[in-house]
């Protein structure tokens, strides 16, 4: 998937106001809470077949860090 498309999809799934970039720190978003985390886990699992664990969510900061967990190779 193109990173741009990923950013757009993520913004839509997480229903965030702000335009996301790879540098956006997800945990600084006003919308970030346990439900947003659940949405992130669900979306990444559906789209990439990658299961983010609770510990992974603890470590995540920027969108790039999510991409790193999914694997850079899955993006063009």
């Amino acid at each position: 998937m193109e990173k741009q498309e990923f950013l757009k999809n993520l913004q839509e799934v997480l229903e965030v106001e702000q335009t996301l970039t790879v540098e956006t720190n997800l945990k600084d978003l006003d919308e970030w809470d346990s439900m947003t985390a659940m949405l992130l886990i669900g979306y990444v699992s559906d789209e990439f077949g990658v299961t983010l664990t609770g510990d992974n969510i603890g470590e995540i900061s920027t969108v790039q860090s999510v991409i790193d967990f999914i694997g850079e190779s899955k993006f063009s």
Binding site: V13, S34, M38, L39, I41, G42, G54, D55, G58
Partner: protein, 247 residues
């Protein structure tokens, strides 16, 4: 002298893991029980396959339309005294990510397969009078939790099945009940805990005043419900949760 038929045929779904597997192990201790276990992955119970009074049927219960053929094939001349539906799945999906296919999938294994099995088991040719049928619901059948629309709805549906069918089968003195556990230490729970951070896992454990349960805690209740000692209990939802749901 007339020989009294004392063997009991018991059907257990979800026999390959967690609560179902624990129940099978308990039941097999009594040589009078002939246990029929349904699951998909027989490797998980390889240690049980050579037991004389255990018969394993590898079957994917989401293939609902063929359950009747499976019965014809495997249970010719078998009348069941007991049935426990332990097969089930749990998932955490926020509603905006639920697709109709995903809703169907969880209902197929948790609810629709149970109804189809019960439809067949309710026939005289597949069940003895006085039989006991038990469905594994969950405390989530009555309570709610974020991200559990599919799980809570499917477990609540089973409670409706139990109440209605208990009345339908009372004439044959067949009992139908639900057992609703809180968190029990099984592979299903490990998978759930994996999605949470350590703080949330501790929080969930703390919500169980007597700690989280063991498989045998639930298996013992299931054995009781299958036994004659429970002969006047029907249409009920028995919660077993170390005090979780009374707070």
């Amino acid at each position: 002298m007339l020989e009294v038929e004392s063997k009991k045929n018991i059907l257990v779904t979800g026999a390959t893991s967690g609560i179902g597997k624990g129940l099978v192990i308990s039941l097999l201790q009594d040589p009078e029980n002939i246990v029929y276990g349904i699951g998909r992955d027989e490797e998980k119970i390889s240690g049980l396959l050579d037991k004389q009074n255990f018969k394993f049927i590898a079957y994917d219960l989401t293939d609902i339309n063929s359950i009747e053929n499976m019965f014809r094939d495997k249970f010719e001349n078998v009348k069941f005294d007991g049935f426990v539906h332990c097969a089930g799945m749990e998932e955490t999906i926020p509603i905006t990510l639920y697709s109709p296919e995903k809703v169907l999938q969880i209902f197929q294994i948790n609810v629709f397969s149970a109804i189809e099995l019960l439809r067949l088991l309710s026939k005289k040719k597949y069940s003895e009078n006085n039989a006991s049928f038990v469905l594994l619901s969950s405390v989530m059948g009555e309570l709610g939790q974020a991200g559990k629309v599919g799980y809570c709805a499917s477990k609540a549906a089973l409670l409706g099945v139990v109440k209605s069918l208990a009345l339908e089968l009372a004439k044959r003195e067949i009992r139908v009940n639900a057992v609703s556990p809180g968190i029990v230490n099984t592979p299903l729970t490990s998978q759930l805990f994996q999605q949470l951070d350590a703080k949330n896992v501790d929080r969930i454990k703390d919500m169980h005043p007597m700690g989280i349960g063991k498989v045998d805690d639930v298996a013992d209740l299931l054995c009781f419900l299958l036994s004659e000692k429970a002969r006047w209990i029907t249409g009920q939802n028995l919660k077993i949760d170390g005090g979780y749901s009374v707070q």
